[in-house]
Amino acid sequence: MTTGFTPAQTSQWVDGFIATVERAEPELTDLDRRSGDGDFGTNMTTALRRTRDALVRNPPRDLGDPFETMSTTFLSYSGGTSGPLFGMWFREFAKAARGGEEFGVGELTEATANGLATIQRLGSAKVGDRTMVDAIAPAAEALERARSDGADLAGAVDAALEAAQRGAKGTSELLGRKGRSSYVGEAALGAADPGALTIALFFQAARVVVGRRSG
């Protein structure tokens, strides 16, 4: 039974996330083309490439450093709406991890809850508005439940991933009410929200790391 991500593992998590999003770039861009302005993939990969460079130049020393670096890169370089919001999302992960030895269920739950609160405070999207919030909110709920149920790390990550994926998929039936998708109306129906999918990819990258260790 695993209790939390080690510093090496938060690094693997972030590395894996970068690789996954880069692979998904064409798909994400296409989704943003159907519901927005088609720059989502570029916005992501530009910032993520810089994260990778920064992590090479300044290798992470602390549990929270990979998140911290990713946060700063998104806040420094990303142009779109999603960029600064993701920057603040990763920042909550960095805060929860900072100085710690392990990133356990408690930290994960806390970071996700704070991330949700921050993104909603800043972007004022509600659940159902067809944004990344539609993936984050169910993940946050699932984590709260997992924590109070005493789930282990793998179980908590699994629950979050499953909830985020479900939420992300569900956005394909939603009419946009925040961001650019609010301008295209019904035309976006059938295509999922790329921001929400990216949140799911983030938990999926965590799942891979947890699986690797426990497997």
């Binding site: 806040l75 420094s76 800043l122």
Partner: protein
């Protein structure tokens, strides 16, 4: 096909900032990365509230041209028509802060609002208090339903920067300046029209085309079309209609006082701007509205758009004093 004096268009903003810094001969410092422009003497007067503004580039002289004594302490330029990032804003605010806190003057666009809000949260962790004045004066974007991103910010931001800058110089504290900025904003409205859109650096075509006999009526400053088109008309017909749009929501009546800004949006000639101001003077005189002060010229552009805006700002003795206070920046000095 429109062309510009550039190298690689992607480098234009940074190359311009480098040239801008060189021309200012040490009065202003440009920090390349993260990119911001700051008064060379900033931080000297302990406790003075710092004023920081920013937004997409392509609106020059806004905002970098307004950095200097009596106006901004720092300006944060994004890419052309794109918000600066939160990290840029945070860095600029840190550089500008003299211990009195920071007032962010922000034109109301989703990206700018988001990044300035984030910067304020980052600054909180740095132990620096940052409060925002969101400027939303563009009546053409008023949907009236309270939904959506709200009215856009445009030329009233110049007055907010000038007046709050003067208040900061005289020693007003952060809360006072924020209250002042919000008071100015709530009494300010702008209406913009265009005869031709601007063209992005390196792009052959203007961002929209317009028939010869049309005026884009209520245009934005990022190449957004207006909701309305208006038949081409002489300024004696155009200006009264523009004044109607700004006066009505302000509820300006006989005997009330205003500060007026007649602004060129890029390639509109001074001859035209002054001819427009003449019409404005006549219209307001007829309605018994007193122009306390007027600014006529090219102060906020949308690249090389052929267009102009009229801004009216409810005025009073305090605002006039602040307006008359000395200011010494690259683009506004008296």
């Amino acid at each position: 096909m429109r062309r510009q004096f550039v190298n690689d268009p992607a480098d234009l903003v940074n190359e311009a900032l480098e040239g801008f810094e060189a021309a200012q001969r040490g009065r202003i410092r440009w920090n390349r990365d993260p990119s911001y422009v700051v008064r060379a003497d900033s931080g000297r007067r302990r406790g003075k509230v710092a004023l920081v503004s920013g937004g997409g580039s392509g609106h020059e002289p806004l905002h970098v041209g307004y950095v200097g004594p009596g106006m901004l302490d720092a300006a944060v330029p994004g890419a052309v028509f794109a918000s600066p990032t939160a990290i840029q804003i945070q860095a600029a605010s840190r550089a500008a802060d003299s211990g009195g806190g920071v007032v962010h003057i922000v034109k109301n666009y989703t990206g700018d609002v988001l990044n300035f809000r984030i910067a304020a949260e980052l600054l909180e962790d740095d132990g620096i208090r940052a409060e925002a004045v969101f400027v939303d004066d563009d009546v053409a974007s008023d949907t009236g339903d309270g939904e959506g991103p709200g009215r856009r910010g445009t030329a009233a931001v110049i007055a907010v920067e000038k007046l709050c800058g003067a208040a900061a110089e005289r020693g007003d504290d952060l809360d006072e300046i924020v209250a002042l900025g919000r008071r100015i904003t709530s009494g300010a409205r702008t209406f913009s029209v265009a005869l031709a859109a601007g063209a992005h650096p390196g792009q052959g075509r203007p961002s929209f085309d317009l028939a010869d006999d049309e005026i884009e009526f209520g245009v934005g400053i990022h190449g957004e079309r207006a909701r309305q088109r208006h038949p081409f008309a002489p300024v004696r017909d155009l200006v009264p209609e523009m004044v109607d749009r700004v006066r009505d929501p302000l509820g300006l009546g006989r005997g009330e006082h205003v500060i007026a800004i007649v602004n060129g949006l890029g390639s509109t000639h001074d001859l035209e701007l002054y001819a427009i101001h003449r019409e404005l003077v006549q219209v307001l005189a007829k309605e018994g509205i007193v122009i306390d002060r007027a600014l006529v010229g090219t102060y906020l552009t949308s690249l090389d758009m052929a267009g102009c805006s009229i801004t009216l700002i409810r005025s009073d003795d305090d605002l006039v004093d602040l307006w008359d206070a000395p200011v010494s920046t690259p683009a506004l000095t008296w």
